[in-house]
């Protein structure tokens, strides 16, 4: 996984709340068996509308999504994160995230930054006044800067550290393999196994 540090890019306002993962990527695209190439599927339903923000300049080339509260709720599909990443988004800013979406983002190097709702609205206003505005999301400093405005964001320390170091989860866990084996030795025999019965 690539290291994440300071991200600067065109901010894309998505002024809706409760954007669930079905809207980020409809179920029909989940049939693919690859882990990349989902850029065409991002917000597929909404992108059919020429007025949708990603169909308009200068937002087409955006890399920082500024969304309403409760972004990424609903289904656990990690494809939502792949689609955002493949499209070119590096960070999503919102006042609240769906838990699974937030977890998935951290694992794929997509920065899910939680801002105060009032700050999101300020950034929307700034973009409104200056479409194409570039914002800077500074992970070491945990701040977002848009024009003259600098506001803090929240991210849990562990995810932040892993993003900064670009660390792969499985490798980290396997450092504790001896303890996993030891735990397995203590498991009670009534616990289920899936081996066929009879």
């Amino acid at each position: 996984m690539e290291k994440v540090s300071v991200i600067t890019g065109v901010a894309v306002p998505l002024e809706r709340s409760n954007i669930d993962t079905d809207q980020i990527i409809p179920a029909v695209f989940l049939k693919r068996v690859t882990k990349t190439g989902f850029d065409d599927a991002l917000f597929y339903g909404w992108r059919q509308d020429p007025e949708f923000v990603l169909n308009k300049e200068p937002f087409k080339a955006g890399s920082v999504l500024v969304a309403g509260p409760d972004f990424g709720t609903g289904s656990s599909r990690e494809h939502a994160v792949w689609a955002l990443r493949d499209y070119g988004f590096k960070a999503v800013l919102s006042a609240r995230f769906g838990d699974i979406f937030r977890g998935n983002s951290g694992k794929q190097g997509l920065l899910a930054a939680q801002l105060a709702e009032a700050d999101i609205e300020k950034i929307w206003a700034l973009i409104d006044a200056q479409p194409g505005l570039e914002v800077t999301v500074d992970l070491p400093a945990k701040t977002v800067t848009a024009g003259a405005l600098t506001v803090p964001f929240e991210i849990d320390d562990y995810t932040r550290w892993r993003l900064l170091e670009g660390l792969d989860d499985i490798g980290l866990t396997l450092r504790d393999e001896a303890r996993i084996t030891e735990f397995e030795g203590r498991r009670e025999s009534w616990r289920p196994t899936t081996l066929p019965v009879k």
């Binding site: 049939k31 609903g74 699974i100 977890g103 694992k107 562990y158 504790d176 498991r187 289920p192 196994t193």
Partner: protein, 496 residues
Amino acid sequence: MTISDSPVHRGKTLAEKVWEDHLVVKGEDGTPDLIYIDLHLVHEVTSPQAFDGLRVAGRPVRRPDLTIATEDHNTPTAAIDKPIADLTSRTQIETLRRNAKEFGIRLHSLGDVEQGIVHVVGPQLGLTMPGITVVCGDSHTSTHGAFGAMAFGIGTSEVEHVMATQTLPLKAFKTMAITVEGELRPGVTAKDIILAVIAKISTGGGQGYVLEYRGSAIRSLSMEGRMTICNMSIEAGARAGMVAPDETTFEYLKGRPHAPEGDDWDAAVEYWKTLRTDDDAVFDAEVFLDANELEPFVTWGTNPGQGVSLSQPVPDPSVIIDPNERAAAERALEYMALEAGTPMKDIAVDTVFIGSCTNSRIEDLRAAADIVRGRTKAENVRVMVVPGSARVRIEAEAEGLDKVFKDFGADWRFAGCSMCLGMNPDQLEPGERCASTSNRNFEGRQGKGGRTHLVSPLVAAATAVRGTLSSPWDLAIDDARLVNAGPSTGSGNGGI
């Protein structure tokens, strides 16, 4: 933790107990805990990239004996002996078959007697049991919490992580008690409880929490009813839902293929009986609901929190104070093509779908069959009944339920996710309106442009009879028939 660490010594919640029993490594300084996973359920949609990741890294599946796979999301529910017509669906299924073989994982394929929706298959085999941790690359894994298991949905990276290590690094969840006291009226079911809970706390209200459902109304539910409730915990934003195990749980489990036997059974039950929230435990949040007041419930919008009692009209967005929610409600009504003030019961539907991991178990089918028995469906309504697993289908046929549904005019299908999501051939046409026993009414969830009203199997059945959204109370049905169809008696199962 020693007692002196905290000023007030307090007991533990059910969730905390299960969590602590699975600690492999306790996290320090903000690092997550490493939690052992007892059971990993796999299906075709969220697994291919995980298997791919293992292959790239040259890693095996650590515990194939704690892993089981089934085909459900993409499978057709008719003509299942023919090759799957949709090429991408077929590729996904064939990829799972190849991966299961290569990595040595037990798989129940289309046509197999144990095939079905992953969340129906686990409990039915007796794999889901109290005090275990269950994960699956599917948000409705929360279903399994009905047994007092800690069960939650994970993303594909986590699927790969569990395959490789049989553990997950996780931060402890907060706990929320949802207490439902009282007695449900005949015709009101577990589905109405959970729809009312979500309407009350909203789709974000459970975020970061494990919900523990408690109170007399929950205790009197069958396992099927408890699964329906836990299933939809995710629709309130929660990671998981749980119900403390009791005699109902043990009764359901005993004798199932994977349930413990002999001394193991005794040891397990002894432990399971300790799995309840201590009287002096403290929840991070609490919610109360009065079961006596509940009526059959229905959603009017495009998220599961947008629901009302069936006796109510479509709500008026202009009275909603929160601007975001008001805008969401306005957009929802536009998508749903509904006018504020229209009585919910005047809304005509095109399709009725009885199925999905929320409501496709044998008890759900019995409840619906009790309503439609001896009746004929409304003329312009298409009615689909889709058992959750091949086993449920066989059981239903042995009881003659297939005949009840067919005589009614319904389409009796093979097992799978079916019309719950637009991924297999069972889909709504654009603009079509559906009363559905599934769990999500998102825009386009059941097919592009489709409009979904979430309901209980009883409401679905009554709606199929009348052609408009209907409560079983709208039919001339004596209470006895409703009680039999209701949740608290074990539904013709001989009671508890």
